[in-house]
């Protein structure tokens, strides 16, 4: 299992706009990590460096023992899959199935394995029923799952999801939780950007907080969501359940409903 490391990484876009400054991140193989922070904090730029779409202007990005500078984006994308924030930046096929099949096809797998990968990815994401549909006839929230399926089908060890919770309803969020769980059981490393604090509290082992182009903290959801200085710096909110527990002066760094019930009943 490859670890993913960013060492003193900065990135400036052509024209000079500095988007990420001195970021240090270490994600162990098999970890399930959320990245949170304000719009413009540098989250997307950071993950684009993780899969080689962008190369750091300072510092090193290491995927296992591979330095991203020494490999092409195409080479890195066999190890790190990236699901774009906007699905329409990614989709270009006329059916869901051919969209999902494109990646495995390019990898020149034997036809059986190709089929297996495609079927599995469609099944995990619940996109099986839309197999023959044109992705552009599906709602945006469903198109997002098409792009997730396309990346899962690549079979990479590391997967990055950029704001998959945007615009999702209850069922969509539950589906995402299931996908994260399945990928976790398969030993994949999953890195997810999200603005949904309830979703982050419920689904991740580790949280990386970014603010003003920098990584300001990483820790467990409990460590993050009860560090008020950190939340304030990153302009983030506690999950609603935590806010109520804070008002009730309950201890135990509560971040979910089950914990809150135990603490309240035990008072």
């Amino acid at each position: 299992m490859r670890d993913l490391r960013l060492q003193d990484v900065s990135f400036s876009y052509p024209g000079g706009y500095l988007a990420v400054e001195d970021a240090n991140i270490c994600i162990r193989g098999g970890e399930n990590v959320a990245i949170v922070g304000q719009n413009g904090a540098g989250k997307t730029t950071t993950v684009k460096m993780m899969n080689g779409l962008l190369k750091p202007t300072k510092g090193e990005v290491l995927i296992g023992d591979m330095n991203s500078k020494d490999y092409t984006t195409a080479q890195i994308s066999r190890i790190v899959g990236y699901v774009f924030q906007n699905p329409d930046d990614q989709i270009f096929h006329s059916t869901v199935e051919s969209e999902v099949r494109f990646g495995p096809k390019m990898m020149k797998l034997d036809p059986e394995e190709e089929d297996e990968r495609v079927n599995q990815a469609l099944k995990i994401t619940g996109m099986d029923e839309f197999r023959k549909e044109n992705p552009f006839n599906l709602p945006l929230s469903t198109r997002k799952f098409v792009t997730i399926a396309a990346v899962i089908a690549m079979g990479t060890d590391i997967l990055i999801f950029d704001e998959p919770t945007a615009g999702q309803d209850v069922a969509g969020n539950e589906r995402l939780s299931r996908i994260l769980k399945i990928l976790g059981e398969e030993g994949k490393t999953v890195i997810t950007i999200s603005h949904d604090m309830e979703f982050v509290a419920a689904n991740f082992q580790k949280v990386i907080v970014m603010a003003k182009k920098r990584v300001i903290k990483n820790g467990t959801p409990k460590e993050i969501f009860w560090d008020f200085e950190c939340l304030e710096k990153a302009m983030l909110k506690q999950p609603y359940v935590s806010r109520v527990c804070r008002e009730l002066k309950l201890t135990g760094e509560i971040i979910c409903i089950d914990e809150a019930i135990t603490a309240i009943m035990g008072r």
């Binding site: 709602p139 969509g172 603005h195 409903i257």
Partner: protein
Amino acid sequence: MDYVMECKNVTYRYPLSEVPAIQNLNIQIERGKFYGIIGENGSGKTTFCALLRGFIPSFYKGELEGEVLVEGKSTTDWGGELAAKIGYVFQNPFTQISGVKDTVYEEVAYGLENFGLPVEEIDERVIAVMKMTDIEALALKNPFDLSGGQMQRVALASVIVLEPDILVIDEPTSQLDPEGTESVFAIIRALKERHKTIILVEHKIDLIAEYADEVVAFKGGEIIALGDKCEILSEMSLAEQGVALPQVAILGCRLRERGLLIGAIPVTEKQAVEQIVAALEGRDGR
């Protein structure tokens, strides 16, 4: 009662679609109130918005039965003036941005130019709205160079600046961070204080619980619940129909199941704290 909009027995089917997107819709919208429109994706929320604004049937063809009234007049009789009456913020900001203007400032000013207002007044109103929506720093940028979240705020600004009586807003915060989301709700609250009628589609249910007056829940093209937010959002059976409920309502309900005598199921953080404190005091005989 003063109704600003009304749907009477409305059923609508998109072209080439076999199933109606909206069925037997009956609703009266009161002037000056803030309506939160909720329900799973594909349940008819956006179609409802397009009906109120008259995009159905003027732009989307298909089969429409029943009628939609704005100020007592059918949307089909309003013509172009409906655009000034109802401000509409699209779900996807790409759809909203005109594409004919090179800067955010000009984009926000575009609607007022079309109204033929004097330049001084346009400038004053555009600057005020850019300040309100926190996009002053983006004034000289090209709208298409912005992030999704920034573009959503520009789209909202370009509609608010027109000062319509009614605002129909479709998921304005889907790409915004928590702080940005709260600020959009604060803007909407300020508009309500200026007696605007607000129709807002939103998945962030805890914020609907905090800010809206009334809630309309859709499922399969039909309204399955409609009324005061506290009544609707504490109705646990809606969760089985794909409707999101506030975290604090779920907490309150589960505490009640465990035997804690919670009075009314809370829908906001403040209500939750009050109800839990009262229930604990009752239990401990204080």
